[in-house]
Structure formats: structure tokens, C-alpha cells
């Protein structure tokens, strides 16, 4: 468990260092994820302890969103003022994003399958 956490945090730290040093728009944890995925693919296998630690963290992913979401109390005035544009934007654009992504995925997948069959 400790080794696995050290691996996860070290990847995050390496990601933060690269992101800061090169002034990249991509945040440190995302670069850390890319780094860990690369390391795993190069190594070709997944240590059991790392898998267990990662699955534990991901099973409770929604818990980690709570403290940031409570920040709604610092934005009370703005949300009271702009709740119509904000909520319409979130609902409509989320529906659009789901629909466009799924339809494009299916379209390209069908074109590829047809191309391969020919």
C-alpha cells in the first residue's frame, strides 16, 4: 500500500515539475497519469499492490469532489445572479457533448469496419 501510494504520488510530483518547468497548460496529475500509463505499458505488467491502491482510490472518486463543491457557498451571490445562464449552459451543453461524442464514435467505427471489410 505504501509503495503503491509512493508510486502514485511520485508520478504526480514528476508531472507537477514538468508542467511548471515547461509552462504547460496540462496540469501535473494528468501528466502523472500519462507517465504512469507509459511506465506500465513499457513494463508490460501491473503490480498487484498498485492495482489495489488505484482501484480503492477510484472506487471513492466522487468523495474527493466534495470539498471543492462545498465552495458553492463562496459563490452564492454570483450563482443567485447568474443561475439561469449557468444551469441552462450546463444542462444543454452536457446533453450536446454526450450526443455528439456517441454519434461521431459510432459513425467513425462503422466507416472503419466497412473499410476493413472491403
Amino acid at each position: 500500500m505504501i509503495v503503491a501510494l509512493t508510486i502514485l504520488l511520485s508520478c504526480q510530483l514528476a508531472g507537477e515539475i514538468v508542467s511548471q518547468a515547461l509552462h504547460l497548460p496540462v496540469p501535473g496529475p494528468v501528466l502523472g497519469m500519462v507517465l504512469l500509463a507509459t511506465l506500465l505499458i513499457v513494463r508490460g505488467r501491473l503490480p498487484a499492490a498498485l492495482e489495489q491502491a488505484a482501484d480503492t482510490l477510484l472506487r471513492h472518486l466522487s468523495l474527493f469532489f466534495v470539498p471543492a463543491a462545498v465552495g458553492v457557498i463562496s459563490n452564492g451571490a454570483r450563482i443567485a445572479r447568474e443561475w439561469v445562464p449557468l444551469s441552462v449552459s450546463v444542462v444543454v451543453s452536457t446533453a450536446l457533448a454526450i450526443g455528439v461524442t456517441a454519434l461521431v464514435f459510432r459513425l467513425v467505427d462503422r466507416l472503419m469496419t466497412r473499410g476493413a471489410a472491403r
Binding site: 508531472g15 450536446l96 461524442t101 464514435f105
Partner: protein
């Protein structure tokens, strides 16, 4: 005697109120309460454990006159785990690398189309409906997971704390509408269904996808990571139209 007891209680509160331990415990307890209600409701996406936990915590903070800064002293330990959890997304990615490699072209094209749609449509709709500039920019990264979204918002001139709220709202909306919407569109491929939900509604969408189907969950997890990267690169460019 009662008076003395009351004084003790007040001084105990004054002490605990400023300790990280109290707000750390309360955050976990609120989430557990939300989780139990979610389970009781047959895991219905509308009864969302995050939404319940946040409502309980906001009511408690307002009721006790506690500032967000004081609360965050304790809650930061939970918040911190978002970082390693994002890194941990590499594990399901690695486990499903073969399935993902076979669908690499549909994944790449759908990622680009979806990332642009999610960010651009959110900013355009808010702009048309008269939202302030800072609010519009706070919406640019609403479909990606919180730590990435807050980083992007900071970078392009949005308000990170507002973005955090919009991200959670997006996750709940996505988890609720995904199944009926995808059924209406006639999408039956579990890869396409999962990928679209993870792209549009990040970790909360992926959690929902894993409940429905394992393959959908896998592709949702993949989309969360990929859209985090895509939006981090695209949002600063798209935001230029709304400055």
C-alpha cells in the same frame, strides 16, 4: 451545573471548530450519509451522494457561521486525494489497453468532436444568455475532472471555485440524462455509450457507466483521462473567442 456544562460545551466547540479534524470527520460523515441514501434509493442517479453531502455540509457551515476557509483547513486532506486518484486512472487505462488500441481512430475523432462541443457550446450558451465574462470562462472546462478543470479555469481567467461547482453539476446532470438520451439516439455500442458519458461528465459519469456495464465503464474511464488532456490544450484556444 447546567451553566458550567454549557460553558464547557462552548469552549469545546471553540476549540474543535478551528481544528482540521472536525471538518475532515464531518466531510466523511456527510459523504457516508449521502452514500447510504444513494444505496437505499436503489442507486438512482438522481439521488446523488455528492449532491447530498454538499447540501448537508453547506447547511452546517451556514448554520454554524463557519467560513469556507476554516472548513477547507480540514477538508483539504480529502481534496488532496484528487491528485493521486487522477494518476490512478492510468491503471484501468493499462488494463484495457488492447480494447482501446483496437478502437483508436473512433476514440481520437470522437474525443476531438466531443471536447470542442462540450467546451464551446457551454461558453456560447452562457454568453448568449448574458452570463458575465468570468462565469463564461469558468464553464470552459466544466466536462473534465475537478483538479484539471480548476487548473484550466485558473489559467484562462475563470473562477476556479465556481468551476468546481459547475463540474460537479455537470457530472450529476450527465449521470442522470445519459441513459435516456443514448437510448433515444439509438446508440447500443457500449464503447460509444461509455466514452460519451466519461467525456461529457468525467468521474461522476464514469461511476454511473461502471454501474450499467463494465465495457461502458472502461471506455468512460478512458474518456475521462483523454478529455482531461484534450480540454487542457483546447480550452485556452477556444476561450480566446470569449475574452
Amino acid at each position: 451545573m447546567i451553566r458550567a456544562g454549557h460553558t464547557t460545551l462552548v469552549s469545546l466547540w471553540v476549540y474543535l471548530h478551528t481544528q482540521p479534524l472536525l471538518w475532515l470527520c464531518v466531510t466523511l460523515a456527510a459523504y457516508v450519509a449521502g452514500h447510504i441514501l444513494h444505496e437505499r434509493a436503489g442507486r438512482a442517479p438522481v439521488v446523488n451522494s455528492v449532491a447530498i453531502a454538499v447540501a448537508l455540509l453547506v447547511a452546517l457551515l451556514l448554520g454554524t457561521g463557519t467560513s469556507y476557509a476554516t472548513y477547507f483547513e480540514g477538508a483539504q486532506f480529502v481534496h488532496f486525494l484528487l491528485g493521486p486518484a487522477t494518476v490512478a486512472l492510468a491503471v484501468p487505462l493499462f488494463r484495457n489497453r488492447h480494447v482501446a488500441a483496437r478502437a483508436v481512430v473512433p476514440i481520437a475523432v470522437a474525443l476531438l468532436a466531443g471536447a470542442v462541443t462540450a467546451s464551446l457550446s457551454a461558453m456560447a450558451i452562457a454568453r448568449v444568455l448574458g452570463a458575465s465574462r468570468e462565469s463564461v470562462l469558468s464553464l470552459a472546462a466544466k466536462s473534465v475532472t475537478t483538479p484539471i478543470a480548476m487548473g484550466i479555469a485558473q489559467h484562462i481567467g475563470g473562477a476556479p471555485s465556481l468551476t468546481a461547482v459547475l463540474v460537479i453539476l455537470t457530472g450529476i446532470v450527465g449521470a442522470v440524462i445519459a441513459t435516456p438520451l443514448l437510448n433515444a439516439l439509438g446508440i447500443r455500442d457500449w464503447r460509444a455509450r461509455g466514452f460519451s458519458v466519461g467525456l461529457a461528465a468525467h468521474g461522476l459519469g464514469a461511476a454511473r457507466a461502471f454501474q450499467v456495464h463494465d465495457m461502458a465503464g472502461t471506455f468512460a474511464g478512458l474518456a475521462v483521462g483523454l478529455n482531461g488532456i484534450a480540454t487542457a490544450i483546447l480550452a485556452p484556444l477556444l476561450a480566446e473567442f470569449f475574452r
